[in-house]
Symmetry: D3
Subunit: 293 residues, 6 copies
C-alpha cells in the first residue's frame, strides 16, 4: 500500500516562471531516465522479487521515494509555467522576437493540453513509455540496470543545472544530484553484496551451466573494425572480471561459415522464388485462362 | 564504412522448423535487449565519442559484430518459419487442436506480413524502438548501460535455451551465450579502466563540482517503506563505492516542507480555480448576455 | 511524498497458478484503462491543480490508493505465473497439445523478459504509454475523464471475472469491482458539485465567451448519415443539458462552402504543381544543361 | 459507405499564413483529443454496436461529420503553411532573430516531410495513435468517453482561440467551438436517455450481479493522503448517484493484509532466490568443474 | 465533407464466427498496410495537394472508398467475434485443449476491451499509428508510395485468403483483391501520366538542379558485399530509367576519407574526453576540497 | 557478417557548428524515410529472401552502404552540435533573443540526453521505429517500397539542401542526392527485371489465381467524390499496366448491400443491447435483491 502526505521531501519553488526551462526539466520527469522510470522500475522489481529480506526492503524503501521525486518535479514545472505566454501571431513576431523565441522553446502541450501543467513526457514531447523499464527477476542484472539509470539521471540533472541560474530550481537540482549520488553508490554496493553473498555472480546468470556455453569464444575480443588500439585495454588481456578466464585479442574475425540456402516456405505466401516456381505460375495462369479455381 | 561478407560468424541452422519457437527468438533479435539494440547502441556511442584511441576502437570493434548477430538471428528465424502453417479455420480446430495450438503460439505477422520471414519486433510483436538505446557521451555511464544490456541479453538467451531441444538452435544459443559472457566482462573491465585512468569516476559525472550538491543527503539511505531489513545491507553503513563518504541509514524520512500554493496561470487557459474566478465568470456571462465580445 | 507499507489493501493470492489468465489480467494493470493509468492520471491532476481544498484532497486521497492497486495486481500476476511452463518444442506439441495451447495463450515476455514476473503492459503486450492519461487543468472535463476511466475499468474487470473460476482471483476482482463502483459514483458526484458551486459549468469551458462562438450551430444535430432514427432521441429536441439552448434536428447537412484553391508553397519544397511550374522546371533543366548552379 | 463532396462544412481560410500557428493547430487535428480521434472513435463504436435504431444512427450521423472536420483543419493548416520559411543558417540568425524564432516554433516536418502540408500528428510532432480511442461495446461507458472527448476538445480549441488574432482562423474555431458545444450536450443527453430507458445504469456495467461484488467498500471514500477536506464533498456522504447506496468517509485506510511470500518459479528462469538456491548453484558450478552437462 | 450511407459496398458476412480468424483479419484493417492506412494516406495527400483537376479528383475519389473498406472489415470482424469464447481456466485446459488453443489464438482485447468488437490494431495488437502514412506533396513519390501500399495490401489479403475456408469471408476478400488490383494499376498509371505530362520526372524531385548533385556517383552500383552476381542485373549497366545516364558497376567501394577528429563540446555536458580534461577535473576536485562553488 | 573500416564514404564535416540545422538533419538519419530505415529495410529483405543470385547480392550490396550513410550523418550531426549552447534563462532572453531563438530551434535531447551527440530520432524527436520498414518476401512489392523510400529520401535531402548555406553540409548532401538518384533508378530497374524475367508480375502477387478474384470490379475506377475530372486520366480508360484488362470509369458507386444486423455476443461481455436484454437485467437485479449469486 502507498500513502501520500501533503508535503514535499525538499523545497521545489522557482524564483520566477520560465516556460522554456519547464520544457527542459520534463526530461528528468518523463524521459527515458526520468523519475517516472526509476519509480516504476523499482516498483516492478519489488513486486516480482523472489526472496524476502534486505534486498526486497531496499527496493520497497527507495521506490516510494522516487514517486515523491516525480511529484516534486511536476510541482516545480507547474510553477515554472505559471506565466507561460499563450503564444503570438505572426505579426507580433515582427515586433517582438523575444516573445516568439520563448514560444518556440516551449512545450506547446503545456499550454494547449495541460493548461500550464506538467506533462508525462520528455523534453521533446514523447509520452513516457513502459518500454523504458527493466525488471528481469535476476537481481545482479537489475541492480546494474538501476546503477546505470541513476548515472544517466544524475548526468542529465548536472547538465540541466547549467541551463538555468534560477536559485530555486538549482536548489532542487542540488538535492536531486545528491540523491542520485546516493542511489548510484547504493546499487553498486548492492550488486557487490549479491556477489559477496554468493547469491549471484558473473557472468549473469552465473548458474547457467557453463558447460553448455561455447567456451572457445567466451573471453575473446574479436575486432570487427580496422583500428588496433582496443588491444591496449584491459579487456584484451589478463584475467576477466568474472574470475573464470583470461581475455585474449583476435585482431581479425576468423572465417565464417557459409550462409544456409534461401528458404522456400509455402507457395501460398507468394514470396518471390526462382525458376521452378515460374513453372507453377504459368500453370496458375493457364488455370486462370481456363476460368477455373 | 561498413562492409558485408556473405558468411555467418557461426552456424545458424535449426534441425527442423518450429514457428512457435521462431516467435520466441524474436525477443533477442528485436526486443528491448535484443541484438538490434546493442548494435545500434554501440554504433551511436562510437559516432558521438569525444576521444580517439582504445575506447573508440572498442566501440567500433564490437558494433559491427553485433550487426552480424542480428543477421544470424534473422537467418535462423527465417528457417524456423520455413514450414509455418498458414492457419486454420474454426472447424479444423475441432478436429486437430495441435495445429490450432501452434497457430496460437506464432507471430501472425511472420506469415501475413513477412511471408515466413524474420521481423524487426520482439516476441510480443512490438516493433523495435530507438527509445531502447543509450548514448550519453559519458563513457562510464554508457559502459554501465552496456554491461546491463549484455547481462539482460545473456539472461534471456539462457532462458530461451531451455525452451527448445533443437540442437541447431541450441548450438547458436551456446555461441551467443559465450559472446555475451565476453561482452559482460569486457564492459565491466572497460568501466574499471576508465576509473583507473582517471578519465571518469563515481559518482557519474564525477567532475560536477560536489560543492554544488546538497551533500547532507548524498550518502543517506532514507527508508520510505516499513521494512527494516535494508539496514543490514552494505548500502546502509560503511564506506561508499565512490570513496567519498560513509553510508548512513535513516529509518524514517524526516518531515518534509509544505507544498507551494496552487498556481494561477492565465485565465484564458480555462483551468478551474477558486472563488474570485467565479466572479470573473459571472462577469463573462453577463458580457455574453449583452452580446458583446 | 509517498510512503509504502508492506501490506496489501486486500488479499491477492490465487488458488493456483494460471499463466494464461495472468496475461489477461495484464489488461487492467497496464492497459489503456488499467490501474497504472488511473494512478498516474490522478497524480498529474493533483500536481497541476489550481485550487486548494476538497477537490485537491480528493485527488491526493485516491491517487495513492490506485498505486496500491497496481501493486496488488502485479503481486497477483507474479503468483499466477509461478508455475509458468518454459515452453515446448515442436515435437512435444505433437504429443501434448494442451501444453502447447497454454504456451500460445501466455505473454511470452512474462517468461523470457521478466522471469515469471508481472510486466507494465496490456494483455496484448503493448507497453503502457503516458499517452493514455488526461490532465487538462479544467476539473469538470477531467472528472468526466475520470468517470469514464472508472467505467471502462469496471467493465473490463467484470469481463475478466467470467474468464476464471479461481476463487482467489475472483475475490480480488470482487474487491476491485466495488472500488470502481465507488470511484464512478465519486467522480460523477464531484462533477456535479463543481457545477452546483458554480466553479465550472457546461459547455466546458463555460467561461469562454459564448458571444465568440458560432451560436447558430451550437445545438443542431446535423445528420451526416442516411438513417433518420436519431431524430427520436432527446439530443434532437427539447432543452439542452447545459440549460442554454434547445436541440434541433437537421436531417441533411446544408450546402457547404467551396474549397479554397490549392496552395503554392516555396518551389524549393518540390511539391507537384501545375503548368507554370513546368515552365520553371524547363528553365531549371536548361540551367542544368548549361552546367550552372 | 462514405461519400465525399468537394465542399467544406464551414469556411477554412486564414487571413495570412502563420507557420508557427499551423503547428499549434495540429493539436486539435492529430492530438489525443483531436478530430481524428473523435472521427475514428465514433466510427468504431458504430461498427461494433449491438442494437439498431436511434443510438446507432446517432453514431453514424456524427461520425462522418467529424471526418469533415479533419478535412477542414488539414485544409486550414496547409494554407497557414503556404509561406513557411525554409529555415535559416546560423549566420543569418545573428542578423535576424525574428526569422530564427519563427523556425524554432514550427513543426519541422511540415517543411521537410510534407512540403508545407498538414501532418497526422499533434503539436509536439507525435503521430496520431489508435491507442487514443475508446469503443467498449457498453454505450453508457462509451458515451461518457465521448462527452469527455468533446469537453477536452472544446477546451483546447478555446485555448487556441486566444493564441491567434487571425480572423479567418478564429472564424473556423468559432464554428468548431459551437459544434463541440452541441456534441458535449448530445452525449450527455444520450447517456441520460440510456439510463431513462433502462438500457444501461450505474455503476457501469449495471447488470453485473452486485451480489458478486465486495459491497462493504462499494461506497466508501478511503483517504490515502493526509488532507481532510475531501470529507466535505458530496462524494463523502449522502446518497450515491447510482441510487443504490450511501457514501461514507473513511479518514484512514484500515489495516491491510500481509503480503504473500515471494514466488519461486522454475529455476531455469535464473531469477535470484535465497539460500537453498545457492546450494544448487554450487552443485551447478561443481558440475561445470567436472565438464559435464 | 464526408457523408455516410448505411450500406456496404460489398457483402461482409461470414458463414460462421471464428475468433481466431478475426484476429488475423485485423492486419488488413489496422496494420501498416491496412485499410486505415490507405484511407488516411489518400486523405492527407488530397488535403495537401497543390494543383486542381484530375489528380486531386483521383485522390478524393478513392479516399472515401477506402473509409468504406475500413467499415466493411470492422463489420466482418465484429461478426466473426460473435461467439468468441470468454476464456478458460487452467483446469479446463486439461480437459479441452481445443478451447484453450482457440483462446491462445485470439486477440484478447477483442473480448476484454471491445466486448467482441473490432479494434484499430494489427494482428499482433499494435495500435494503428499515423507514422505509417506518406504525404510529401510530390505526387510522383506519393503515387509510388500508393502503388506499394496497394501491392503490400493485396499480398496480405491473398495470404489471408488461404487461411480460411469460410465462403463469406472469402467472398469479401475476393472483392478486396479486385479493388487492390485496380488500385495498383491506377497508381502506376497515374505515376506514368505525371511523367508523360512533364509534371514530374525521375529522379524525384526532378527539378532539383542536377548541377548541384555529385554526378560522379549518380549511376554507380557500388558493391559493399562480397557477392558478384549483382553485376548481372540491368541496374549494373545500360541506360538508367530516368533517361539521364548509364549504369556502371563498381566491384569494390573506393577508399574512403579519414574520419573527422572527435568533437569537444562544452565541458559542462560532462562527456568523457582525454587527458587535458583530466587536469580540469583535478582542478574541479581541488575546488571541491576548498568548499567553493 | 559486417565489418567496419574507420573511414567515411564521403567527407562529412561542416564549415561551422549549427545546432538548429543539426536537428533538421535528424530527419534523414532517424525519420520515417531516413538512412536507418533503408539500411534496416534492405537488411531484412536480404535475410528473408527466397532465391539466390543477383537479387540477393543486390540487397546485400546496398544494405551495408546504407549503414555507412547512417554513420556519415551521425558524424556530421555531432560536429554541427559541437558548439551547441547549453540554454538560457528567462532573463537572458530579454537581452538576447537570438540565443533564445537558437535554443527554441534545437533538439533539446541533443544536449540533455546525448551531450552534444546525434540521436536515433527524427527532426521532431520521435524515436526511430521498426514499424517504418517493409520486407514482405515478394520482391516486386518490396522493390516498389524501396523505390518509394529512395524518392521520399531524396526529396527530403533536396529540401534540406536549401535550408543551409554551409558548404560542408551541402557537399555531403550533394553526395547523398546522387546516391539516392542511383538507388531510385536501381530499384525501378530491378522491379522491371523481375517482370521481364517472369519472376513476378502485376498485379502483385501475380500468381494468386485471378479466377478467385471478383473480376467485375478489377479495373473500375469508382468515384466516391463529386469531382469528375478523374475521368480524364489514363487510369479511367484504356489498357491497364498489368496488361490484363481495360480501365473503366464509374461516375457514381452502385447501390450497396444492406448492413448485416447488429451482433449479439455473450451477455457476460456487458455490451449494450436492446429490450430483451433489459428483461434479463431486471432478473439480475431481482437476483441481487435476493442476495444470491
Amino acid at each position: 500500500m502507498f500513502f501520500h502526505r501533503q508535503e514535499l521531501q525538499h523545497q521545489a519553488t522557482p524564483e520566477r516562471p520560465d516556460a522554456v526551462y519547464a520544457r527542459k526539466l520534463q526530461e528528468v520527469l518523463g524521459g527515458q531516465y526520468g523519475e517516472i522510470t526509476v519509480a516504476m522500475q523499482y516498483g516492478f522489481q519489488s513486486w516480482n522479487i523472489h526472496l524476502p529480506g534486505k534486498y526486497r526492503d531496499l527496493l520497497y524503501g527507495i521506490g516510494a521515494e522516487e514517486f515523491g521525486h516525480v511529484e516534486m518535479l511536476a510541482t516545480m514545472i507547474a510553477q515554472l509555467l505559471e506565466k507561460a505566454p499563450l503564444g503570438i501571431t505572426d505579426e507580433a513576431v515582427q515586433n517582438d522576437p523575444t516573445v516568439a523565441a520563448v514560444i518556440g522553446g516551449t512545450d506547446l502541450q503545456h499550454a494547449i493540453v495541460a493548461g500550464a501543467g506538467a506533462r508525462p513526457v520528455d523534453s521533446m514531447g514523447n509520452p513516457w513509455s513502459a518500454g523504458y523499464i527493466t525488471a528481469s527477476g535476476n537481481l545482479l542484472a537489475d541492480f546494474t540496470a538501476n546503477a546505470n539509470a541513476e548515472m544517466q539521471g544524475r548526468l542529465q540533472v548536472a547538465r540541466l543545472y547549467h541551463m538555468t541560474d534560477d536559485h530555486g530550481v538549482r536548489d532542487l537540482l542540488a538535492f536531486l544530484l545528491a540523491r542520485d549520488t546516493m542511489h548510484q553508490n547504493q546499487w553498486l554496493a548492492a550488486a557487490q553484496e549479491l556477489r559477496d553473498e554468493g547469491l549471484e555472480g558473473l557472468p549473469v546468470p552465473d548458474n547457467f551451466p557453463l558447460g553448455k556455453e561455447d567456451r572457445d569464444v567466451s573471453y575473446q575480443y574479436i575486432n570487427f573494425s580496422n583500428g588496433q588500439h582496443a588491444s591496449e585495454g584491459r579487456w584484451a588481456s589478463g584475467p576477466t572480471p568474472d574470475g573464470k578466464g583470461e581475455f585474449s585479442y583476435v585482431a581479425e574475425p576468423p572465417a565464417g561459415v557459409p550462409m544456409p540456402p534461401p528458404t522456400h516456405p509455402d507457395a501460398r505466401l507468394y514470396g518471390t522464388t526462382d525458376v521452378p516456381n515460374v513453372v507453377e505460375k504459368m500453370a496458375g495462369r493457364a488455370q486462370d485462362a481456363l476460368g477455373r479455381e
